[in-house]
């Protein structure tokens, strides 16, 4: 007992306690629900068996049923468009802004801080704001597009199946750009200035310096941001709830919203869990990319 105590005080026991506490917490709050979720995806779940743990095992029936449904593939397609569109938009605009603020004109850091406002706002509030912007009859977006002559008639962004998904993507890009910009700004700031001076003396113009110094030096930051972006966009739920509710007719539905809809509105918990498991696979993949890209950081 005494040995144990002293080991905890100043031996390796202390390290183990430090590691065990967060691991235990993680297992309890994230690991167990995850396992339970996987278990549910192989069971038959209805309103009456909700409270029990051991329910009839059905093998891969939930999975085959899910892919037999006509809306499954379109929703998976929507999810892919949503993820790729959001990440591309957030990243490109975020990178552009980060480069812009990198020039360090007077007031740059102050203005950059202001951009964080979008990131601080809850998704539902952002959704509400975009509802106004996107509104068919009196929305600012339609007004601007009309005035600049890009469109002749109003687009009903939220209720037109051709546009509903893109309406949410636009809002999500707005929401995530600031986060991208901040991380990319940090990455840019960590590149030593003398590398640019050396490259300049070596004859590289601004464009060549960007391609041969900035981008390669930012590789790990970019890898981290894209994989975090994948995780965040796969989690994006509030905007769908606030703007389109997945409609009309699933035209803007994505897996994360659909899983919730199946579980808590149609009470088909097994299917909801099945979709979640499919998503977990993707998130795991993103996590591995994230961990690898932060591990392979270039150090001078």
């Amino acid at each position: 007992m005494k040995r144990l105590l002293s080991s905890v005080r100043d031996g390796s026991g202390f390290d183990i306690v430090l590691v065990a506490l967060p691991l235990g917490f993680l297992f309890l709050m994230a690991g167990l629900p995850l396992l339970y979720n996987i278990l549910m995806s192989f069971q038959e779940v209805d309103m009456f068996s909700l409270g029990t743990f051991l329910r009839p095992f059905v093998g891969f029936k939930n999975y085959t049923d899910l892919f037999a449904q006509p809306e499954t593939w379109p929703i998976l397609g929507n999810t892919a468009i949503f993820v790729i569109g959001s990440i591309a938009g957030q990243f490109l605009i975020g990178f552009g802004l980060a480069l812009f603020f990198w020039v360090n004109f007077p007031g740059a850091s102050w203005l950059r801080g202001l951009f964080l406002v979008s990131w601080v706002m809850p998704g539902l509030v952002v959704g509400a704001i975009w509802n106004w912007i996107l509104s068919g009859d009196f929305g600012v977006l339609n007004f601007m597009l009309r005035e600049t002559g890009i469109i002749s008639g109003n687009i009903f962004w939220r209720s037109d199946p051709n546009y509903s998904l893109y309406a949410v993507i636009m809002a999500n890009i707005w929401l995530g750009t600031a986060f991208n910009m901040i991380l990319l700004s940090v990455g840019l700031a960590s590149i030593p200035g003398d590398l640019y001076e050396a490259a300049e003396l070596d004859g590289a113009n601004a464009w060549q310096r960007f391609w041969t110094i900035t981008l390669p030096m930012m590789r790990s930051t970019i890898g981290a941001i894209v994989s975090l972006g994948l995780i965040f966009t796969l989690q994006q739920f509030d905007l769908f709830a606030a703007i389109t509710s997945g409609g009309p007719n699933n035209s803007s539905n994505v897996t994360q919203y659909w899983a919730w809809d199946l579980s808590f509105r149609q009470y088909d918990f097994a299917k909801g869990a099945t979709i979640s498991v499919i998503m977990i696979v993707f998130v795991m993949f993103a996590s591995v990319v994230y961990v690898r890209s932060t591990r392979h950081e270039v150090r001078g």
């Binding site: 001076e197 070596d202 041969t212 150090r299």
Partner: protein, 355 residues
């Protein structure tokens, strides 16, 4: 001799701060020029102005006869070795070396060949595939040099390239850089705060202080005829002793004030009664037999390095003597010291200028 770099009336302001004041400097093709001076005197600023990394506020800068004031760094054809080396961390040694060639669109095979040739001369052949983080400090330094050499630039600029190396390697690299310079027939400008480096490596030494060139010339010229007290104190190690003195009635002797007045004879005629500062180099002061010296000094501290003994006197104006003989001396002794009249430097008591 053609002039490779010419600066005339160059001034540099950082806002209200006047960093370079009326710099006139011309550098011959093929010469090795060292810029020395205490920290903050503007050495790096001057070097970076040559490279174009800083723009000069007024004056003219010519490289190989062409006005360069508004030419961007990449078009000046000048290579720089940074104190931090500034190697590209995401590139191998070979890629670091060939960067400038690849930017200019030189074919891959040709660039590779050039890298191998340069690496052979700088001893990097075995390391071409490594990343900078896998190299020692000395090896990084060589990569930084090789990266400059491969370009055959109009001039090499070095900003304290050896300050991150240990003493032994520094002495070694000193010779190596100079040898490379001679072999390439290059024009080099070398910034250092170490006057020994400047004296041993350069053909032409420029001493700066507070943005002003105090004196420039051949190393021995600066040592033998320092233009003022600052240069006299800066060049030479250990530093020159300065003692207040008054020119004697006859104008050919100095009454030196080291605790008590002692007289040394001069080899030139000065205005009698003039207040001056006498500059006595430690290595020119000799510890001699009693009765043979020009003055007598009480010994304060004795430090021996084996090859030389450093004697510091306990007088008000401290005097350091470097003695290479092993003659025994202890704290508290009073010793006789001699100096040749020709070795006595005299500076004006007020302006500090050489008399």
């Amino acid at each position: 001799m053609t002039k490779q770099i010419e600066l005339s009336g160059v001034n540099k302001y950082y806002g209200a701060f006047h960093a370079l004041k009326n710099i006139d400097l011309s550098i011959d093709k093929g010469s090795f020029v060292a810029l020395v001076g205490p920290s903050g005197c503007g050495k790096s600023t001057l070097l970076r102005s040559l490279a174009g990394l800083e723009s000069i506020s007024t004056g003219d800068l010519k490289i190989a006869g062409e006005l360069m004031n508004n030419v961007p760094p990449r078009k000046r054809d000048i290579a720089m070795v940074f104190q931090s080396y500034a190697l590209y961390p995401h590139m191998t040694v070979e890629q670091n070396l060939t960067y400038s060639l690849r930017i200019r669109g030189v074919a891959k095979a040709e660039a590779r060949k050039a890298a191998e040739e340069v690496a052979a001369t700088t001893g990097l052949s075995q390391l071409l595939g490594r990343y900078p983080r896998e190299l020692s400090g000395g090896q990084r330094q060589r990569v930084a040099m090789s990266r400059a050499i491969i370009r055959h630039p109009k001039a090499f600029l070095f900003d304290e390239p050896l300050s991150n190396l240990d003493a032994a390697l520094r002495v070694h690299m000193r010779k190596e850089i100079r040898t490379l310079h001679d072999r390439l027939g290059a024009t080099s400008v070398y910034v250092t705060h170490d006057q020994i480096e400047a004296m041993t490596m350069a053909d032409h030494v420029v001493v700066m202080k507070d943005g002003v060139i105090e004196q420039q010339g051949a190393p021995l010229e600066l040592y033998d005829k320092p233009a003022n007290k600052f240069v006299a104190g800066f060049i030479g190690s250990p530093a020159m002793n300065f003692v207040p003195a008054v020119v004697g009635e006859d104008g050919r002797s100095l009454a030196v004030d080291v605790g008590e007045k002692q007289t040394i004879v001069l080899d030139r005629q000065l205005q009698p009664g003039r207040k001056v500062t006498a500059g006595l180099r430690p290595e020119h002061l000799h510890f001699v037999e009693p009765g043979q010296g020009v003055f007598r000094l009480p010994v304060g501290i004795v430090e021996s390095t084996g090859s030389a003994t450093y004697i510091t006197t306990s007088t008000v104006a401290e005097v350091t003597i470097v003695e290479t003989s092993r003659r025994p001396v202890r704290t508290g002794d009073v010793i006789d010291v001699s100096i040749r009249p020709a070795d006595v430097h005299v500076f004006d008591g007020e302006t500090g200028l050489r008399v």
